[in-house]
């Protein structure tokens, strides 16, 4: 099922001068999969993700995202992906509605479509009484949920999530994962980069990067078996310590 | 004391490791002085002018000779018709036209009054203004020399502006202003930034929790900048004396003391800003908008206070820089002693005490 792959990476490499940040990584991600892209700070996961979303050119190797080449068709990629990071998600000084309208606008949605989407989204998140509140005044967990919905506004094939639930309270965090499962169930591919190992437990498959290389790639269950560990955290510790 | 010394050593590390602030600290004064001294000069040299002489008599000729004899102007051409004025301006070489009315000499003798029209190319208003000033200066000079021989003196317009700078050397006017700006910039902006940087970094939290007293933190922040500002003041004075041959008429010691006073005023303002601002960016904005603009616009450095609207004249009184400029102009250009500037000094001193008091009161030993 070649068509089923929405991300195909072959020997992707990025050098900064003499320093190899990402060293010939190879992996595929299937449609509707929740893929965890793990690694310590500085292991190269941010650099790798930047190449996949088309804002950094690979030094060598190739990668196709949503069927487009990252080196030559970056603009097409951007239209087909959504992105959400914990550091920046929404504008705190705009209201919920203004944020949705703004992000809908930059992805070229028509006004009618934005309106329809806004209503759907607000209803789904139960925000009917909060549409005119400034995003900055909402609890962190709500913001993350709105941000995730906003990244799905233009119905992208793949959503990239950067440490989406760090620091969020346990209940909201689970609501967040339920939202992720829901969109994965609809066929959206979810690509999660994180160094929180408990976020990794929720993924269908995970890869672990150490020093620019992918050192492990499998389902959390099999990785735990392979490394004889109880949690992904232990798997990571064993891998990183060699 | 050991704690305090450790703090100051740390401050110097910060200053010397931050290439950007180092550049501002030492590059700025030199750049500004040279810029004002050489580039943004109000002086003119051999400016080409044209003459339209309707009378062609003894007096007009005498004036024309006087003007062309000065090093400021050279007469490019004589024109015959009013309509030529526009043509010569359009050619662009000529910056001013002197237009003598008919029967110039006769009118001086009969009516004690005669007119010369000075038409300047105001596309460059500064030069135009300077040309106007220079020409009137030459005319006055001429009037004065004439009046000595004549019983009934004819009209004189007094020109007090040039008394203390007879050659109209603009760099002399700029040095006090530039010095004020530099001291203000280095002292107020740099201290406020360096204090807010600690807030932004979160290190202020640790400093507050340490046994270091708040006053030690403040003074420790300020001492390095007093030191640097004094060096800057010296650099500026030395530059202006040696490069621009600026005379310092009054006591250098008094100049030094007054500068230290102003530096402390500025530092107090810097601390005050840092008690309000929470980020380096706001500190910088407040320093620029709240301090630098008034220094440039309201201190009398560029725009004479006397020609400001009444309300701005009043506001200018609360700008410390205004008083400092008066003081150092007095010392540098007029050579006056403390007996002539004690009032200004006292005002500056009062302001300093006020700002220090206010910032000590506003300085928080907690985060709120």
């Amino acid at each position: 099922m070649e068509d089923n792959k929405v991300i195909e990476v072959k020997g992707l490499t990025k050098m900064f001068g003499d320093f190899t940040a990402v060293s010939a990584i190879t992996f595929d991600v299937k449609k509707g999969e929740i893929f965890g892209f793990l690694g310590a700070n500085g292991a190269g996961k941010t650099t790798a993700m930047k190449m996949l979303i088309g804002i950094s050119k690979p030094t060598a190797g190739e990668a196709k995202v949503a069927g487009f080449d990252v080196a030559s068709e970056a603009e097409d990629i951007k239209k087909n992906i959504g992105y959400m990071s914990q550091k920046f998600a929404l504008y705190d000084d705009l209201t919920v509605k203004e944020n949705i309208t703004f992000f809908g606008g930059i992805y070229g949605l028509t006004r009618a479509r934005i309106k329809e989407k806004t209503n759907g989204l607000i209803e789904e998140l139960g925000l009917q009484h909060h549409t005119d509140k400034l995003v900055g005044s909402l609890p962190l967990g709500w913001k993350q949920k709105i941000a995730f919905s906003v990244s799905l506004l233009h119905e992208p094939k793949i959503v990239f999530l950067d440490e989406p639930t760090g620091g969020v309270d346990p209940i909201t965090r689970r609501q967040f994962w339920e939202m992720i499962y829901k969109s994965a169930n609809k066929g959206t591919t979810i690509f999660v980069t994180t160094h929180y190992m408990d976020e990794a437990e929720y993924c269908d498959r995970v890869s672990i990067m150490v020093n620019g290389k992918i050192e492990a790639l499998d389902t959390p269950k099999r990785l735990k078996e392979q490394f004889n560990a109880e949690t992904m955290n232990d798997v990571f510790l064993k891998l990183a310590r060699g | 004391m050991k704690r305090f010394r450790g703090f100051i050593i740390k401050e110097f590390y910060h200053i010397f490791r931050d290439k950007r602030s180092l550049f501002i600290l030492f590059g700025m004064p030199i750049a500004q002085i040279l810029l004002f001294g050489f580039a943004i000069t109000n002086e003119i040299n051999n400016v080409d002018i044209a003459v339209l002489d309707h009378s062609k008599d003894a007096s007009s000729e005498e004036i024309i000779n006087k003007i062309s004899a000065s090093s400021y102007f050279s007469i490019d051409q004589f024109i015959e018709r009013e309509s030529d004025i526009e043509t010569v301006f359009k050619q662009g070489k000529v910056k001013a036209v002197l237009n003598f009315e008919k029967d110039f000499s006769k009118k001086i003798i009969k009516e004690n009054k005669a007119y010369i029209q000075i038409i300047t190319d105001a596309t460059d208003p500064n030069t135009a203004n300077t040309i106007y000033n220079y020409v009137t200066a030459i005319l006055q000079n001429y009037q004065q020399s004439k009046n000595r021989n004549i019983t009934t003196p004819y009209q004189i317009t007094p020109q007090t502006r040039m008394v203390y700078n007879p050659e109209l050397k603009s760099v002399f006017m700029f040095v006090p202003g530039v010095m004020t700006i530099i001291l203000m910039l280095v002292s107020a902006m740099m201290t406020s930034i360096s204090i807010t940087r600690e807030k932004e970094l979160g290190t202020m939290e640790i400093l507050l929790v340490s046994p270091l007293k708040p006053i030690q933190v403040i003074v420790g922040k300020v001492v390095p900048y007093i030191f640097l500002s004094v060096i800057n003041a010296i650099v500026i004075v030395v530059l202006s004396i040696f490069i621009f041959k600026m005379p310092v008429e009054g006591s250098l010691f008094l100049l030094g003391l007054e500068s230290v006073l102003f530096i402390i005023t500025a530092l107090a303002l810097g601390i005050l800003i840092s008690t309000i601002a929470t980020t380096q960016q706001t500190a910088m904005m407040i320093s620029l908008m709240g301090l630098m603009l008034p220094v440039i616009l309201l201190s009398g450095f560029i725009f004479p206070i006397a020609s400001m609207p009444f309300i701005l004249q009043i506001i200018s009184n609360i700008v410390p820089a205004k008083w400092f400029i008066i003081i150092i102009k007095g010392i540098m250009l007029k050579g006056v002693g403390l007996q002539f500037i004690w009032k200004e000094t006292l005002i500056l001193f009062g302001m300093t005490v006020f700002f220090i008091g206010l910032s000590v009161k506003k300085y928080k030993i907690r985060l709120e």
Partner: protein, 300 residues
């Protein structure tokens, strides 16, 4: 008692950051404050290290009153704020030296206390702090907080944003410090770190949900928890939520943690129900609760 907190409240405008917080920390105890971002952990720390005034309530640290004796408290506590708060443009050694001097001591005088942490960063002592990796920065910050030999140590989210390896190392260091008799109050949003503390307070929205040892908190968990698993995660969660007897349904990694309302619950009933919903590869197994389960049950 090393720390006694009695009815502390603190508000920012309309937000109640701390609501009637009370707890004690015994001498030499490792006490964890566990809660998500925005729970009020940092505010509580700032109140306890005398950086903020509480609106209500009182507290003593090392036997000294927060308001009256704030100067003594400031000399006797070590505080490591959540954000990395060292001078990035000073080297490792200069930072340490600076903090030693402002506390009126020297590195040599208290070297014994920081030795086993400092040796790990000593090879980089001439490197600027800003150029260190996340884990290294935390170690340096800990050294700086310890340099004056505090009796009580406040560590505000020391492991946030730090990778798992450095996190583990950091906790090992905290444990060793505890052995030297220092009382430690540490906050963290990671529930899995709770088990490493002697006692913990679970905190959310400025309210303490429970205070006890991690073991006791787990023991008090009122229900039996089942790990449920099936091929389609989303369908599974939806079906479980619709199940009339369900008490709580929380995704938990590759499983769903399920609790039932009934006293007598037969897992086979649930399996049958899920099979009816066309789910495949269903497993239902009893499992142990975690601190996260306890937290969610209390916060519900």
């Amino acid at each position: 008692m090393s720390i006694v907190v009695d009815g502390i409240s603190k508000s920012y405008k309309s937000l109640k950051a701390l609501n009637n917080i009370s707890f004690d920390v015994k001498e030499g105890e490792l006490f964890g404050l566990i809660g998500p971002d925005g729970a009020g952990k940092t505010t509580l720390f700032r109140v306890l290290v005398t950086l903020l005034f509480a609106d209500e309530g009182k507290a003593t640290v090392a036997g000294f009153d927060l308001v009256k004796d704030y100067k003594i408290i400031r000399e006797s506590v070590g505080y490591m704020p959540g954000k990395f708060s060292l001078y990035q443009d000073l080297t490792v050694e200069e930072n340490l030296k600076f903090f030693a001097t402002i506390f009126g001591t020297t590195i040599e005088e208290n070297y014994e206390l920081i030795e086993d942490i400092y040796v790990q960063i000593e090879p980089f002592k001439n490197r600027r702090a800003g150029k260190l990796s996340g884990g290294m920065k935390q170690k340096l910050a800990l050294c700086c907080a310890l340099i004056h030999k505090p009796t009580v140590l406040f560590l505000d989210e020391p492991t946030t944003g730090v990778d798992p390896v450095s996190r583990k190392e950091f906790w090992d260091m905290i444990k060793r410090l505890q052995l030297k008799g220092i009382t430690i109050l540490v906050s963290t949003p990671y529930m899995d770190e709770a088990a490493l503390c002697d006692r913990i307070a679970l905190i959310q929205d400025g309210i303490i949900l429970q205070i006890d040892s991690p073991e006791a908190i787990l023991k008090q968990y009122p229900k039996l928890i089942y790990n449920v698993r099936a091929d389609n995660m989303y369908q599974l969660i939806q079906s479980l939520k619709l199940y009339e007897h369900s008490h709580s349904v929380y995704p938990f990694g590759e499983f769903v943690h399920y609790t039932d309302k009934r006293t007598y619950f037969n897992p086979n009933d649930l399996k049958l129900y899920l099979a009816e919903k066309l789910l495949t590869n269903i497993t239902v197994e009893i499992t142990e609760p975690t601190i996260e389960d306890a937290f969610m049950e209390l916060a519900k």
